[in-house]
Amino acid sequence: MNLATHVPILAIAVPLLGAFALPLLAKVHRSLRDLWVLLVGAFTVAMLVLLAVQVFTGGILVYTLGAGTPGDTVPEGFPIRIMLVVDGMGAFMGLIAALVGIAGLAYALQYLEEEKGKTLALTLMLLLWAGMLGLKLTGDLFNFFVFFEITSVAACGLIGYRVWESRPPEAAFKTMVMYTLGGLLILLAVGILYGEYGALNLAYLSAQIGQGPLDQIALGLLLGGLLMKAGSVPMHMWAPDAYGEADPSTAIVLVANTQAALYGLFRIVFTLYGGAGSPAVGGLVTALGALTVIVAVLMAVLQTDLGRLIAYGAVSQIGYMLLGAGVGMATLGAAAGGEAGFGLVALQGGVFHMMNDAACIGLLFLCVGAVVRATGARDLRALGGLGHSLPGVSGLFLLGSLALAGIPPLNGFASKLMIYQAAFRLSPILTALAVLASILLLAVFVRAFQGVFLGPRRPLGGTAAVPTGMWLAMGLLAVVVVAFGLVPDLMVRHVVAPAAEALWTGREAYLVAVLGG
């Protein structure tokens, strides 16, 4: 078997196989289970990196499941089979998933406690990872819904599995309600489109789709469902609970999962509808983005729980991505008439910010895990003086918060600057709001840092020693934070630009890759 041709499906199937085999292996021996997790994680990351290299050098990859050959996309002229279509954007999202997945698993292996459902949590994490990757690589709308549901179920299980505490199940219930509602909206849209066109292949639908009322209803439903899962402001109430109550290793995968919903949104608007409804959809997304940025930051100011504080920071970052992509969507129609430029820059900024947010928010969540391990508390009023016993963690926390607030030369600055510049061309008010939110965010995190790490030494309630796996996970994310901030040009040119390009002008290539010339 030629491994290279099967890379897209192996990236989904291996974590799925890993998840199902894990509880059985755990019954044999725990060390076997841990070895298996590492093996599956390393293999999946290798597949995702290989996939990105293939796509960025050789163009769109199509993989048809169940066919005689992977390239047999349209037997008898109709795309009847399930297929995976990976373009620049899909490969870019795959890289984000690889980063948070391996960091989350390495961290979870040493952070989770054996008698507190470790096997269960690891299984669900692999399942969430597989679902997330399926969401990002699939080229079929119904498959998209199925993977959406897999991630929903796995995520809610991961948030609420600690039933002996009172708050996680409540957070999981809240999340479940929102995810289920979002899933139902998407299912309804899928039903409408299937009734109208008799197919659910994204490329085929994209070639057929029009501007009729039914198409627009479906677009509205898809937007609603995906924005709900992405945690945009009027539908954000589940996100702080979920991020705040989940284990840190889960929280970083959850952040990547909300980004997968954003990816779905971009895919629907740019590839499926080809910018139809622009600039109205773009205006809506931009407005929601600006609202998310400012409301979430204002809520973060009020928090006294460290986990919830960072969770609101995470929600506000989703707003920056929506803002960048929204400006891109709003100008997509005008771009065809020759006025390109700042819309594409905004989209690139939004896409780049996904990767940067995954790294710096992830780093912050992982630092909180180390704090909780050392003290058993997350309340800012009860914490203090941890800089003495956790000097490394406090340095990483500071690094993450500065990057999140967009301080140069860290990675958050690079992508936020692109969003500021491009949003300014659409409306200066947007940039003013975004900059104001960043300043507030810095204030919030300075206060958090001061409250947790500075001050006189206090007695610890737990162990201050941080195991190697946790260090490796935090170190990996910290390296990304610093490296992407130092050489943003390189990243933008070789990875982000092809990803944004795939959305901006890649629709034709996407259709040709699946349906043939």
Binding site: H6, L17, L24, T64, G66, A67, G68, T69
Partner: protein, 144 residues
């Protein structure tokens, strides 16, 4: 429950098991399949809980969980069987081995599809069964 219910349950359990197995086995030929057959099999668990009480089945819960896991694992492994061509490729169809028959409408045709039906059937039976069992165990008062 009363002796009537217990006796009828003893009579019904084999019948329900056979019917569930039948629905799964003929999944590629007739309406039904893995999920439906698995649900029928899970009704056996529900029947046993009603007749004999959840406590007597408590010990079976871990084995049900393992069976569910095995079903899911079997499904993915069967999908991997075709990876010589593509993932999910039906490599056993027409291969003249087990389920490799070439005659349309035959029970022994279909390649990996009937096997996947069994995988889904096992998973649904064990999954639904353990859900019902857990709800009965932790759901508070059961009237006996």
């Amino acid at each position: 429950m009363s002796v009537v219910v217990r006796t009828v349950t003893r009579l019904l359990v084999p019948l329900a098991l056979i019917f569930g197995a039948y629905v799964i086995m003929h999944g590629h030929l007739t309406p039904g399949g893995g999920f439906q057959g698995g649900a029928v099999l899970a009704s056996v668990v529900a029947l046993l809980i009603v007749a004999f009480g959840a406590e007597r089945l408590r010990r079976r819960q871990t084995s049900l969980t393992s069976v569910e896991d095995l079903g899911a694992l079997m499904f993915v492994v069967l999908a991997f069987v075709g990876i010589g061509s593509t993932f999910f490729y039906n490599a056993l169809a027409g291969a003249r081995g087990l389920f490799g028959g070439t005659e349309a409408g035959s029970l022994w045709a279909g390649g990996t599809v009937p096997l996947m039906n069994w995988a889904v059937g096992l998973k649904v039976m064990a999954g639904l069964g353990s859900i019902v069992l857990l709800m009965a165990l932790f759901g508070g008062d059961d009237d006996r």
